[in-house]
């Protein structure tokens, strides 16, 4: 059985671990700079807490990197040097140069795959993409929304608090999902224009509106926000082609809605779109796909290059917001702090 190690055991790691626990893999253990956090993961999901990153790398076939976005590079380079298959949370890194170095290191080391975690596995999005390619004709306009509250616990991340930084805010953290999804649907972007509140006195209410033009002529729009009241998270996708339109909105009432107390009675677990099989849950599907790529050589749906391009689009979008002018992707140069 493929041996999995998880690096970083914070909030997003919990989501991954819930999925790993259901997959036919050996969850070997964890490395976290906060040893107590790793021990908590042991108590909940089994396996062991490793004292060092190298010790974990010695014991596994694949690593799942769930550290904050500013702390991906070290584990990725170490895992690449050790020849491990890597799945890395988004954003791959905060700087394009780091992304290039990380993807290059993985290619040089012959890693099986480096995949930024991503929403291609969400049934709503992959279903929309499928319809786009099969039934909607030539792409016209693609509009997506991803909006929630300011991420409280993760607020310590420099990416989220240094609003004056060129690579800060909601675009790199949230909008990057949609930039990646839209690029998946429509191909490469020629230029981007952004308005938003990242560089204001109120970065916690960060809200950005990104307009994209694709080389195939399609027009993209991304709305991403941290400005919603706590407790609301909304995603929406709308694909319009010359043969029709496909829409999905997380606010839509599903055909069958199940809401039940969660296992530890701390909240409500909501499931819709019956039958929502385990296999359809996006994180599960994503990690299962990752394992499939590793074990059976299937081509990864999202590559390191995709992760790099998503960061590039996000940085270009942020640059547009900073300067107030459109940014050409082909000539975009990262502004180094």
């Amino acid at each position: 059985m493929t041996r999995i190690g998880v690096i970083g055991t914070g909030a997003i790691a919990q989501v991954h671990l819930d999925a790993w626990a259901q997959l036919p893999v050996e969850l070997v253990g964890y490395y976290d700079v906060d040893q107590a956090a790793a021990e908590r993961a042991v108590a909940k999901y089994g396996g062991q807490a490793f004292p060092t990153l190298d010790a974990l790398l010695d014991a596994v076939d694949m690593v799942d990197i769930c550290t904050p976005g500013t702390a991906h590079k070290g584990p990725v380079l170490a895992a690449a040097a050790a020849g491990k298959a890597i799945i890395c949370e988004k954003p791959l890194a905060r700087s394009l140069a780091d992304c290039v170095e990380m993807v290059g290191a993985c290619e040089a080391a012959g890693c099986r795959s480096i995949r930024p975690t991503w929403c291609a596995s969400f049934p709503s999005l992959s279903g929309s993409k499928r319809r786009w390619t099969t039934a909607l004709g030539d792409p016209g306009v693609i509009r997506t929304t991803r909006a929630g509250a300011f991420p409280g616990r993760a607020a310590v991340s420099p990416a989220r608090t240094t609003a004056t930084s060129h690579a800060a805010g909601v675009v790199l953290d949230v909008g990057i999902h949609d930039l990646d999804f839209q690029r998946w649907c429509c191909g490469e972007v020629t230029h981007v224009f952004t308005r938003g509140t990242t560089f204001t006195e109120d970065p916690r209410n960060d809200h950005a509106l990104i307009t994209l033009r694709f080389a195939n002529g399609a027009i993209g729009h991304v709305q991403c926000a941290w400005a919603l009241p706590s407790g609301i998270f909304r995603t929406r996708v709308e694909l319009a082609g010359d043969e029709g339109i496909a829409e999905w909105d997380s606010l839509d009432v599903p055909s069958l809605l199940v809401q039940r107390r969660n296992d530890d009675d701390t909240g409500v677990e909501t499931r819709g779109h019956s039958p929502w099989d385990t296999e359809l849950q996006p994180y599960y599907a994503e990690l299962a796909h990752f394992v499939d790529c590793f074990e059976n050589g299937a081509p990864p749906r999202v590559t390191g290059h995709d992760g790099l391009m998503a960061v590039k689009l996000a940085l270009a979008a942020i640059e547009s917001m900073r300067t107030g002018a459109p940014v050409e992707i082909a000539t975009f140069q990262e502004v180094t702090a």
């Binding site: 004709g137 030539d138 016209g140 306009v141 509009r143 929304t145 909006a147 224009f193 308005r195 938003g196 509140t197 209410n205 809200h207 950005a208 509106l209 307009t211 033009r213 002529g217 399609a218 027009i219 993209g220 729009h221 709305q223 926000a225 400005a227 919603l228 009241p229 909304r234 709308e238 319009a240 082609g241 010359d242 043969e243 029709g244 339109i245 459109p326």
Partner: protein, 263 residues
Amino acid sequence: MSSQSIRMGMLSFAHQHAVSYAQNLQRLPGVEIVGLWNEDAAKGQEYAQRFGMEFYADPNALLDQELDGVIICSANTHHRRDVDLAAGRVRGILCEKPISTNMADGQAIIDRCRDTGTQLQIAFPVRFHPVFAQLKALLDRGELGRILAVECTNHGSMPGSWFVQKELSGGGAVIDHTVHVIDLLRWFWGAEVTEIYAEIGESLRIRASGHRRRGHALLCAQQRRLRHAGHQLVASPSWLHGRRQDRGHRRTGCGLLTCRAST
């Protein structure tokens, strides 16, 4: 009809909204529809029969009937012509949107009505939709706090006919659907747009509606971004919906997704 009734005439049924106006005028107490004029006489007579009103082959003959008001539903670029004809001969004009397809015609229409003492109203029925009236009231009460961003859409299906002839419509979905959204946003905050960034798609063929007129400069999709008195706004109108949506109300969504009240 009593002598107290309002005497209305309809100048052109080129825009399909004329049908809605005729139906609703007939529901209004104290309103008499005197007659209609239409460029296409055969269709004009059909409409006259359908709504039980008189057809006039000459718009001046209709305007000679001591009308109180007219509703102008001609093609976009004909609005100025028809306003020029009616202003001063009626007390009020309701003109279908957009008022014009260029600023000069729009200003001329306003000036002409002002100079002749004619009440001019542009047809923006969305302001009268109860949902948007409620939204406006909610905004006026400040319930959402400081508005950070607004995203709006106005999708419909491609209407065909003169709407895809640039010399009559002025430019596809961009002009036809943007005006509704812009009007709402100006109304919400009483503020003018200061900056526009647009991406416009010109090459989409709308096969779903049976039109493949590639020779026309169709502007069928757009993304428009505005800087609106400090608010970040997006309006995204299109003609990309299929025919199915056309039977019901057009979708006009205005999502206020940054609804955190200031503390």
